[in-house]
Amino acid sequence: MDIELICLLAMLGVFLLSNLLLKLPVSISMVLGALAGAIVGGEGIPLRHLFEGTFTYVDTMLIISSAMLFMTVIQESGALEALNSVIVTHFYKYPALMLIMLMLVIMFPGMITGSSTAAVLSAGALVAPVLLLIGIPKEKAGAIIAIGSIMGMAAPPINIPAMLIGGGVDMPYIGFDGPLLLLTIPCAVFSILFLGLKHCRNLDIEKLESGLDLEVGKKYGFKLYIPILALFVLLIASKAFPAFPQIGTCLIFLVCAFIGLFTGRKFNFWEKALKAMDTTIPVLAKLMGVGMFIQIMTLVGARGWIVVSCLSLGIAAVYIASFTVMPAFGAISSYGAASVLGVPFLLVMIQQGRCSDIVVASCLSFLCCLGDLMPPTALAGNYAAQIVGLKYKPVLIHCIVPFVVCIAVGLAVMLNSLTFA
């Protein structure tokens, strides 16, 4: 047995033991798993390596934190309630159309930023109350947001796993839009109709209106929506026009949050910001744990063992691994899956020939994105559950069918890549 495998088993063993038996948080369990791997690998306690691994996520941490501050402002200013009433009162007669529109709204920030977290935290949180209001149960609403955010992350124009995979083989990020739309739009439409349609066939507008706050919208009028509009305008402008100042998603969220302080109800920003961070800290810590875990996996050779073991089984196994191991790796990091597994898998598939490299890379990136649903990290699932006020397990259960359909679509397109090229 390879020492690298022993290290990997030690890491996973300690992680699972800490998390499941000792009921420690995922973050601390990951740190303990990483420590175990380093000790078994003969590295002692490599402080530099442990903390260096966390720096992959510094930007992500800032985006998550600023998005949470933005959402808090939107909620407290009353913009969220006003927006919900507008959508419901205008579209309740056409539930399927309304659901598809809501799905596109959820996807939008993910399409622009390439991050499922940004999608869940911004549009997901805006849409969640609407979904609950039209009668969709909490756990299904959470599942819709989780799946929608992942479809947004995978959809063009920005798909970061595809860029990472492309970067690994020097393939420019050109020509991905078609294949990615082909993969994401049907899956997104199927998912929301499958999960939501049966709950909102005969909507009673009077009942709906009684659950809505129609006053806040009337009181503040259009200016309530300015921060949301500013968010969309800035996100689009910064991507569509390279000449537009590239201030980054994090700063865009904060600028819009600042605008929101003056456009609606007044509230104590400091206390609300603290509350927003209160729910965010465990998620940030989880990212720290993941960073340490991956760095130690690389240090002791466990990462190499995983990749080489997948390659050792031949081309058929690489295809199988691409829809099993790769999404599963998302439990650690979906971007990590793209870079660690996506690149060698694509190289093997290209070498074997008879496939379109762009379509295959698109499919691999799509399958990587699905990893954001994988427990225990399940970034998308976790946040979606938090938004609807649940633990993530019931939400993830409802994600299973759409998840399997997405895998099937991804695999079908990948195996017939030349047809779709």
């Binding site: 948080p25 903390f51 966390t54 720096f55 800032l62 934190s65 700063l251 744990g289």
Partner: protein, 49 residues
């Protein structure tokens, strides 16, 4: 310039994390989580890493 704005944002988030850490009652794991996040944020803030 943008870098200094982002360092200011990092400092602001760090303050929120520290205040939350002190306020949290009866949850040592939460406090450890906060401490983990603090180390990374401080190292970036002082431009060490």
């Amino acid at each position: 310039m943008l870098m200094y704005i982002y360092l200011a944002i990092t400092a602001f988030i760090l303050v929120l994390v520290v205040v939350n850490m002190f306020r949290k009652k009866n949850n040592i794991f939460y406090q450890i989580d906060a401490a983990l996040v603090m180390v990374t944020l401080i190292l970036r803030l002082i431009l060490v890493k």
